[in-house]
């Protein structure tokens, strides 16, 4: 780990994590764990699960910055996003468990972590490219991805017919996919 990367991470929390500073890390627990706990309890989790997720998220940030070129603007927001997404993933796995899909349920902790990391990195790439689209594309794709019915989409964005809206979505989506594929981070 080069000092250059450390200098780049202006956030003192990030710095403390990378330097393994116990005083500040315990401050991280104190300041940020309650919010993660609250979210997980609200979404049918337990205190023990919140603890695991929080600790895995801290490790995610460390490995991300050291090994995966991760850059963080706002430590608190990013940590919470990672906790949230890890928990979303856990819920998805539980759903699969219900329909008896053994593939994801038997993963060990490290596989779980690694799969999440790859998925999270993809998600960040997709979002980054999504933000490069025109406002109109972003608007219509947001509605589309949130399962808003075509009837409502054409009303909201004043399209003449469902077919024109569908064509527009198709074009925007193709553009987004092109942007994603042309990035070297996508393989």
């Amino acid at each position: 780990m080069t000092d250059y990367k450390l200098e780049q991470s202006e956030d003192r929390f990030v710095y403390a994590l990378l330097k393994n500073d116990s005083v500040v890390i315990s401050e991280i627990y104190k300041r940020f764990f309650p919010k993660a706990l609250h979210f997980i309890l609200q979404n049918h989790g337990t205190h023990a699960q919140a603890k695991d997720i929080f600790q895995e998220s801290l490790l995610y940030i460390i490995i991300g910055i050291r090994e995966r070129n991760l850059k963080i603007n706002n430590f608190e927001a990013y940590l919470f996003t990672i906790c949230k997404n890890m928990w979303r993933r856990e819920i998805e796995k539980q759903k699969k468990r219900v329909i008896k899909d053994g593939l994801h349920t038997l993963e060990d902790k490290e596989t779980n972590f690694a799969s999440f990391m790859v998925e999270q990195e993809h998600l960040e790439l997709y979002r980054e490219k999504f933000n490069l689209l025109s406002d109109n594309c972003k608007q219509i794709l947001s509605l589309f991805f949130n399962d808003v019915p075509y009837e409502d989409i054409i009303r909201e964005l004043s399209y003449a017919t469902i077919n024109t809206a569908r064509q527009r979505i198709f074009k925007c989506k193709s553009k987004l996919i092109k942007l994603i594929k042309s990035d070297t981070k996508f393989n």
Binding site: N20, L58, L103, M117, N146
Partner: protein
């Protein structure tokens, strides 16, 4: 790899569930035979979850994924195993302290609630309109060692301020502070409610607002905490100050229903005196 628009249309229809059973089966076979197509479908699918922020897209075939395997290897290395255990250790200390401080808070409000009870007894002792009951309470106000409230002021300055106002007999101001504190603490599970309610009720009693004092103590008795039985004793005090002997006796009888209720022994004695 790039696909033509016809394939894109098919992927779209496949994901949206707009295909007939036959079309669907055909397309699924196509996916199985073509790894690039499978990746493309996955990309289309996961885009949705990346943007809608609701569900999560789980990658399939993790075992064959080189990237996943290399991260897994890294995560298992001694370097990160050490970091992980350090993070957990710091966490364990944090969670231990959390439990301790919760216990402390419980102890603090237990003490403080008793202080409120003590105060009410003093209060009635000195300000009761009825001189005969006043002398009666002299027996029950034999509280020599009042616990220090500085413990409280360290952890919760606002509440300490409220107590200070209360002891200075600035009841109206104390009520404002305790009411606000009560609103803020509700739902946060900090365990301060019984303590705040005790003081709030006593402050209303200080203003001779019997109705509100009783309502507040009712809330305490509904609070489902170890302190809920204290509400009976406090309400007894309210009725006595209001010179309503019958209702005071009813309350004392309630206390006597369970030996574990707050001030069981005193209640027994007081009831005998009143009879």
């Amino acid at each position: 790899m790039d696909f033509d628009n016809i394939i894109y249309e098919q992927i779209e229809a496949f994901i949206a569930g707009r295909m007939s059973e036959d079309e669907k089966n055909q397309f699924e076979e196509k996916i199985l035979a073509d790894n690039d197509l499978r990746k493309e479908v996955d990309l289309h699918r996961s885009l949705k979850y990346a943007i809608n922020d609701k569900e999560w897209f789980l990658t399939e075939n993790v075992k064959d994924n080189d990237e996943v395997n290399s991260i897994k290897k890294m995560r298992r290395s001694k370097e990160y195993a050490d970091i992980e255990s350090k993070i957990q250790k710091i966490g364990d200390q944090y969670f231990e302290n959390e439990v301790k401080s919760k216990k402390n808070r419980k102890w603090i409000y237990y003490v403080s609630a008793s202080v409120a009870a003590i105060f009410i007894v003093f209060f009635i002792n000195y300000y009761s309109v009825d001189q005969s009951t006043s002398s009666l309470y002299a027996q029950y106000s034999n509280w020599k060692d009042l616990p220090s409230l500085t413990v409280q002021s360290d952890s919760e300055n606002i509440l300490a301020k409220g107590e200070h106002l209360f002891f200075e007999k600035k009841y109206a101001q104390a009520i404002v502070i305790f009411s606000t504190a009560l609103e803020e603490s509700s739902g946060q599970g900090q365990g301060f409610e019984p303590y705040i309610l005790s003081y709030l009720g006593a402050a209303y009693l200080g203003l001779n607002d019997y109705e509100k004092a009783l309502l507040t103590f009712d809330e305490l008795s509904n609070s489902d905490t170890v302190d809920s039985s204290k509400a009976y004793w406090y309400k007894t005090m309210v009725y006595l100050k209001h010179d309503d002997i019958q209702k005071a006796k009813n309350m004392l009888n309630l206390i006597l229903k369970n030996e574990r209720n707050f001030n069981f022994q005193q209640a027994k004695e007081l009831l005998e005196e009143l009879d």
